[in-house]
């Protein structure tokens, strides 16, 4: 049964506790129509040219049931041993289901809200109804429509004017492996009013070494981020699904005047993975910095699709994505900066750099600029290469053995993407995670993987 068919069938019995609200039912039905109006993407579409999701669309995924005791224990273990350990707030989900006992939440003061989305449907209906779907568009985004049609739970963050959270918010989404193929559709809705500030990290974790009979899992999250005047958000995403964990995600951002977004996206593991990051700079002085790091091994496939729209004058965007690709893994980078006619004095920079560590590794990189204004500063570039031979010889001539020299150079290459992060637990832990992943790659022990071609 195909994903599209399965999806339509499941619509017949939408969860009753949600279908009760006419506005939400209407929202989901509209999304369903938008999804049904689009074909699932194929390689014939330019935007999906390098990412084949046929095996996904031919798998019958059913909605993930709430976790049993075994999954709960496993999640607790994963949270303690694998997940980032950050101070502050934490919301933990197992296969899309919120787990209060694994979370750390406290009521925020005043009008600020941080709570599971399902709870927000009841308690903060006006907020949700007002903002849900406001930072996204369905055309060309079938998985955003799919998420919208199927959303059940996730995260709501609302910060009123000048509310500044000093502690990060850690959203952990754990997908247990098992003999059945399940799908979940986490939805994050983040709204920062003028002058508000926050840090939010989405972390997607699977079992790094799943059991032999593990079936494919699918996570299809969507994050909507709305930044008002002078709001500042640090948004992190760490993707470490297991080899059977497929992941097609959207992050859609709408930015007002003088707002700042710093996004850091780190992908270390997964099956077929895709991140669609769409940023709209709506007003003068909006700034976005998108940093990304991907380290792929085995037969992983990662497609990073970025699009930044400079809609008004005086906005700035900066992109630095770096990849280290080993074994038979394949990376795709497609970054498009669109400078609209009225967006004079735009500053748009884009760089994608890649290291290929094996002959069978592949990267398809395409940084693009589309400029319809004349007074702009834009640049883009991409590199693909191996480790610098002169540097390897230099390190060797000082006594470093090849594995040490290679590890040092690869780590240095990778860590450049973390430089804009200020010192603190997040940066330390991302650096440590990067180091561990590289050591594992250098040791020739990538996680067990299976073919998905």
């Amino acid at each position: 049964m195909t994903m599209a068919k399965r999806f339509c069938e499941l619509q017949a019995h939408a969860p009753p506790n949600i279908s009760g609200w006419p506005w939400l039912r209407a929202f989901r039905q509209q999304a369903q129509r938008a999804f049904a109006a689009q074909e699932l993407p194929t390689l014939r579409q330019e935007n999906w040219k390098y990412t084949n999701i046929r095996s996904l669309s031919e798998t019958a995924f059913s909605d993930a049931p709430p976790p049993g005791a075994a999954e709960l224990a496993q999640a607790e273990n994963v949270q303690q041993t694998q997940a980032l350990s950050l101070p502050g707030y934490r919301l933990t989900f197992i296969a899309g289901h919120f787990q209060p006992q694994l979370s750390q939440l406290e009521t925020l003061s005043g009008a600020a809200r941080l709570l599971p989305l399902k709870q927000a449907f009841e308690q903060e209906q006006a907020l949700v109804e007002n903002y849900l779907g406001s930072a996204m568009e369905y055309p060309g985004q079938p998985f955003a429509a799919l998420n919208s049609a199927r959303l059940e739970d996730g995260v709501l963050l609302y910060l009123p004017a000048n509310c500044q959270l000093s502690q990060p918010i850690h959203c952990l989404f754990y997908t247990p492996s098992g003999p059945h193929s399940h799908v979940s559709y986490p939805r994050l809705l983040l709204m920062l009013e003028p002058g508000a500030q926050a840090q939010l990290i989405e972390e997607y974790l699977g079992d790094p070494v799943p059991p032999e009979n593990a079936a494919a899992q699918f996570t299809c999250p969507l994050s909507e981020i709305i930044l008002a005047h002078d709001a500042h958000l640090l948004h992190g995403k760490v993707l470490r699904e297991g080899p059977q964990g497929h992941h097609i995600a959207g992050i859609h951002v709408s930015q007002a005047e003088q707002s700042h977004l710093h996004s850091i996206s780190i992908t270390l593991g997964g099956g077929i993975c895709r991140n669609d990051l769409q940023v709209k700079l709506h007003a003068r002085g909006a700034q976005v910095r998108l940093d990304g790091l991907y380290m792929l091994a085995g037969r992983q496939h990662l497609d990073n699709h970025l699009r930044i729209d400079h809609l008004q004058a005086g906005c700035r965007s900066e992109v630095l994505y770096k990849g280290i690709i080993d074994d038979r893994a394949r990376g795709v980078f497609n970054g498009l900066a669109v400078v609209h006619p009225q967006a004079q004095q735009s500053d748009a920079r884009q760089i994608n750099k890649n290291l290929l560590l094996s002959e069978n590794a592949e990267i398809d990189t395409k940084p693009e600029l589309q400029i319809d204004a004349d007074d702009v500063k834009c640049s883009h570039g991409a590199t693909v290469g191996q480790l610098d031979k002169d540097a390897l010889f230099y390190l060797g001539s000082r006594g470093m053995d090849q594995p040490t020299a290679r590890a040092l150079l690869t780590t240095a290459f990778a860590l450049e993407t973390l430089n804009p992060l200020s010192q603190g637990p997040l940066r330390e832990q991302l650096a440590a995670l990067t180091g561990t992943t590289l050591t594992r790659q250098a040791g020739g022990k990538p996680p067990a993987t299976t073919s998905h071609s």
């Binding site: 060797g396 006594g399 040092l408």
Partner: protein
């Protein structure tokens, strides 16, 4: 310490060195001079173990062992150090991390324990003061954005920290102003001892005013065409390489009685 016998080296199938003979004893300083393209840097890179240089003939013995059978990091651990003509920039690997990693890799190869972190940093900082290198450079990417003088001083800092037996300095004097040249020379002089040897590869005589060689060899077209004492460098400075005529005092010279210049 080092015995080079009839060494021939190719790169990209082009013969660069055509039968080099050279004997360097512990405690000695040898200068290798010659015009551009004579093969000086090829000799330096070959001794350090650059994989692109193919040895087509001959033999190199270092402390009695077959040097050419060792790879680059084994040679470093055995005590060979090449100060690069163009030190490589390594962004993202801080100078301190570089030094520590290099030293500990060498110690590991020699079966020695890792150095205590505090002892190490104290030693490095003392040597930086000696070389008048700004301490801030410790935490910058290795050679990244360093000036020409800083890069060369940094090579000598590595020499002082790593404490090799045989140092080969490839055009370490090029691009240095007189103050930097004096600092570099002082650093190298501090390295000298009766147990250690130095090979200076250079175009010019001026470094040799501060680092007086025991022997000077003239390399041309991949062969040593003349050898002599320190005075030969002065003569070359005045007359240039082209006016030289091969003397009988060439090409193989073995020092029978090394000077004691420790």
């Amino acid at each position: 310490m080092l015995s080079i016998r009839n060494l021939g080296v190719r790169i990209d199938n082009k013969l660069i060195l055509q039968g080099i003979n050279l004997e360097v004893a512990a405690g000695e300083v040898h200068a290798i001079m010659g015009p551009n393209g004579s093969g000086k840097s090829t000799l330096a890179q070959t001794l350090a173990g650059h994989p692109d240089y193919q040895v087509s003939q001959g033999q190199v013995l270092y402390q009695g062992q077959d040097l050419l059978s060792l790879n680059v990091e084994q040679r470093a651990a055995a005590g060979i150090f090449l100060a690069f003509q163009y030190p490589v920039e390594i962004p993202g690997v801080s100078n301190i991390q570089f030094l520590k990693s290099a030293l500990n890799c060498q110690r590991k190869q020699r079966g020695e324990p890792e150095l205590d972190a505090l002892d190490f940093i104290t030693d490095v900082k003392q040597k930086m003061r000696q070389m008048q290198i700004d301490e801030a450079l410790l935490y910058r990417g290795t050679n990244e954005g360093f000036s020409g003088g800083e890069k060369k001083s940094n090579e000598i800092l590595q020499l002082l920290v790593l404490q090799p037996q045989l140092a080969i300095l490839d055009e370490t004097d090029s691009g240095l102003d007189i103050d930097a040249l004096k600092r570099v020379a002082a650093g190298v002089n501090a390295f000298r001892s009766p147990e250690r040897a130095l090979i200076l590869v250079t175009h010019y005589q001026r470094l040799l005013q501060y680092l007086v060689p025991d022997r000077v060899h003239v390399l041309q077209n991949g062969r040593i065409i003349r050898s002599g004492g320190a005075e030969l460098a002065l003569e070359l400075e005045q007359q240039g390489y082209t006016t030289d005529t091969p003397s009988e005092d060439a090409p193989t010279q073995k020092r029978e009685v090394p000077d004691d210049n420790g």
